[in-house]
Symmetry: C2
Subunit: 448 residues, 2 copies
């Protein structure tokens, strides 16, 4: 199977001063910039210089075991992206937000605002929040069950879509003569009555430029994939080998027809952490510099929390202890599975595993020349494992600059990637049409 | 009583293309700009040119009966203010947010983000949301009781303050050498257990430049005033006469000692809708132009919703029907009282009442020359009825420009108002110190 006919997409997944967990300790970064909005605005501008489709911010609603060692997500992503919107013109702006710990009305409204403010560049990475620490900040004694979280996500998104659709695109009349601001026949009360939510509507925001934000999804468990097939227009995923990538891609595609959707409506973007240098040796050496800066005690706590097993007293040079079956995991199932399989297949010690995860918490790391990186991206794309990539610079801003200035031009020369923007909205960049409200009736034109 | 020793403050309360409900129909506005973020960024810049303390956006979580006629709050205020932050440097940024329909963790985090992003310019206008329409968007069948809303607000703010305080100001170490990001001893778990909220904490945001946003309050019922005395650092209020203003001011001041607070810690800012022109006659004529553009059917629905009485079939030139006692009102009690007393005292017909409310929904409207407006502001300030004003331009941007370019210079010449910023934060503009975390212990210096 090849998908070479579909256009190729690039998202920049930005995190603090870089994805590598020791990034902030490396001389290529300035650690204080994690607290500086200008740093993030500049990253948006660099991504825009590379004609990338979008930038993306992850989010979590707790600090958990990270306090001592790591640069957490300091800024709430929608607020941050509004500030980046003001400093950029084209780049898409994707924010993570949780369906488990928000009110649908407020969240729908926030994304409508970001879409208005950015002129149609908003995207929502829909997550269900997989850690216990987050549950504790919202009145729970334990993490809500995995299946229940996805059920809530399903109803949440269904409702959010109806809220965005509650204003038809031509509802705003703004006619000073007649004094009509909006046509009440084109603004719809919902009286939504779900199992979890009751919301009257309409949303307190006229329809935004894209109709609704681009819907993105990033959990690859069974429930996650089903959810993606139903709603997602782009999927972020961690896939370590070409074969796994192809399987995942095909798996998602096969789930689409059930929801009346086609492959064109869903872009699959596996993550890649690129270490870029003039020679392969230099790139590897650079990666090693970062690995050497990992604090094992911090990494052990991260890994413990990811696997649901306390490893903080475990010997670094011993293999992993036996792990619970994935069915026992209520947090993020797909990342658990990925890490478990990686450790078992490659028979890694804890120290080795920590090194492998340091770059991107399970996402594929690749060290090479700009040509080699371009080759790698192209081969996955042509082999039907990806519609593009979620580029995760290990350090910032340098890692993004190198990608934009050295890898993107090669992809452009090969005719793979756009040389300029042809659209003004995020949906446009991803080749998707603006969305019409589901409540827009097929109106019969009154005879003149 | 005179408060001439306290500095004088000016906030610009911005709404759509102006506060007057018919503003968008008047040729001085461009109605489409309610949907344009640049419009709001320019307003921020104009206010900053006038060295104002802050700009402020109201908010409501429903569109209610306004759809047909009015320009509602299109943008979620925090998101909008993040975009304005990116286009300004000094002006304070105050957003309304409801304690009734948000999660404390999310809201505390959002304001911490805005404070980081703006370099310490965030303020929170704390409201309890007084309409039924809002309740219907959050799963309620009716508006939660007035007293219950304020009880929730009390616990909400107490918790939010603890969340902001959960990071001491020097908790972030960011030492690449030792690999220490933050000092865990200075980041506090809360294990907050209130009647309504259980939140473990800490917040997922290091302490922001101001420590916490400026706390603003805007409901003037008994519960509202008590709440203000306990928490608020600035109060927005609608006061129609100097005597009422003085009474309100004194009332608030007298409530402060109970909470161990002094008058310096609370600024009272009554609203004023200024119509500005070269002569008084021209200013009055300008106001009349706006009044003439009011749509009575829209105004009747607004008034009905404010008073909790259906007036849509009521004769415009008859007096108001009998109104319920304020004890029966579960929405906003103080505005109900204000409107009721106004109608009764001045024996107004419905049409006259609508005209009086058109400028600022009950806030005082004043038409005059720049000198007259400056006199009016000065006299309230010197008579102990205000620490400054909440300026509500009836049309935008012109009404704000006229105030900034014509009234502010007079206030500056009189030595009443700053001629340049002397602080970089919103708290600084209001003469308040940055706030230290309540969890910062008095640490004993270890001997060298
Ligand atoms: C690229 C990528 C980014 C992600 N970002 C987040 C995030 O920001 N916040 C979050 O809670 N989960 C994020 N996750 C997804 C979670 O792992 C997932 O939503 C949740 O734990 C359920 O996943 P599951 O379907 O694998 O069980 C991300 C996943 C990927 C692949
Ligand atoms: C200048 C000013 C602005 C206000 N802005 C809002 C607002 O944006 N949203 C809101 O729900 N209430 C706002 N109100 C306050 C409400 O009237 C109040 O929070 C609520 O209805 C309870 O008021 P009460 O204490 O008078 O009963 C504002 C009041 C004033 C004076």
């Amino acid at each position: 199977m090849t998908n070479a006919r579909k256009p190729f997409h690039l998202n920049a997944f930005l995190m603090g001063v870089g994805h590598h967990e020791a990034a902030w300790r490396h001389p290529r970064t300035q650690e204080r910039r994690v607290l500086d909005v200008k740093h993030f605005q500049e990253l948006g501008q660099i991504a825009e210089r590379g004609k990338l489709d979008s930038v993306f911010f992850a989010d979590g609603l707790a600090v958990g075991p990270r306090i001592k060692r790591n640069a957490l997500a300091v800024f709430e992503p929608v607020t941050l992206l509004a500030a980046i919107a003001a400093a950029t013109e084209h780049i898409g702006l994707i924010a993570t937000a949780s369906t488990s710990y928000n009110e649908p009305f407020n969240l729908a409204r926030k994304f409508a605002s970001l879409d208005h403010i950015s002129g149609g560049r908003a995207g929502w990475n829909i997550v269900t929040s997989g850690t216990e620490d987050e549950a504790f900040n919202f009145g729970y004694d334990a993490i809500p069950e995995h299946a229940r979280r996805y059920e809530r996500a399903d109803e949440f998104v269904d409702l959010a879509v109806q809220l965005w659709d509650s204003w038809e695109s031509d509802a705003v009349v703004l006619d000073p003569e007649t004094g009509v601001f909006a046509d009440p026949d084109k603004v719809h009360t919902l009286d939504y009555q779900g199992e979890r939510f009751r919301v009257r509507g309409p949303l307190n925001s006229p329809r935004s430029p894209q109709g609704r934000p681009l819907l993105v999804q990033a959990g690859s468990s069974e429930s996650g994939k089903e959810f993606a097939a139903k709603y997602a227009e782009a999927v972020f995923t961690a896939q370590r080998t070409l074969e796994e990538g192809q399987q995942f891609y095909q798996d998602l595609e096969e789930r689409l027809p059930k929801y009346g959707r086609s492959a064109d409506e869903l872009k699959v973007l596996p993550g890649l952490v690129p270490f870029i240098a003039d020679t392969e040796e230099q790139a590897r050496a650079l990666e090693q510099e970062f690995t050497d800066l990992i604090s094992p005690d911090y990494a052990l706590r991260q890994l413990s929390s990811l696997l649901g097993v306390d490893l903080t007293e475990h010997a670094l040079d011993a293999p992993l202890p036996p792990l619970p079956p994935v069915s026992a995991i209520e947090g993020g199932k797909s990342r658990f599975t990925l890490v478990k399989e990686l450790a078992e297949k490659e028979e890694l010690t804890v120290r080795q595993l920590i090194g492998k995860l340091g770059g991107g918490r399970g996402h594929r790391t690749f060290a090479g020349t700009p040509e080699q990186i371009a080759d790698e991206l192209q081969s996955w794309y042509e082999a039907g494992a990806a519609d593009g990539f979620n580029i995760m610079p290990p350090y910032l801003p340098g890692g993004l600059e190198d990608f934009v200035d050295r890898v993107v031009p090669i992809l452009q020369q090969r005719g793979l990637f756009r040389t300029d923007y042809t659209a003004t909205t995020l949906r446009g960049h991803y080749g998707l049409d603006p969305v019409e409200s589901q409540f827009t009736p097929v109106r019969i034109q009154a005879s003149a």
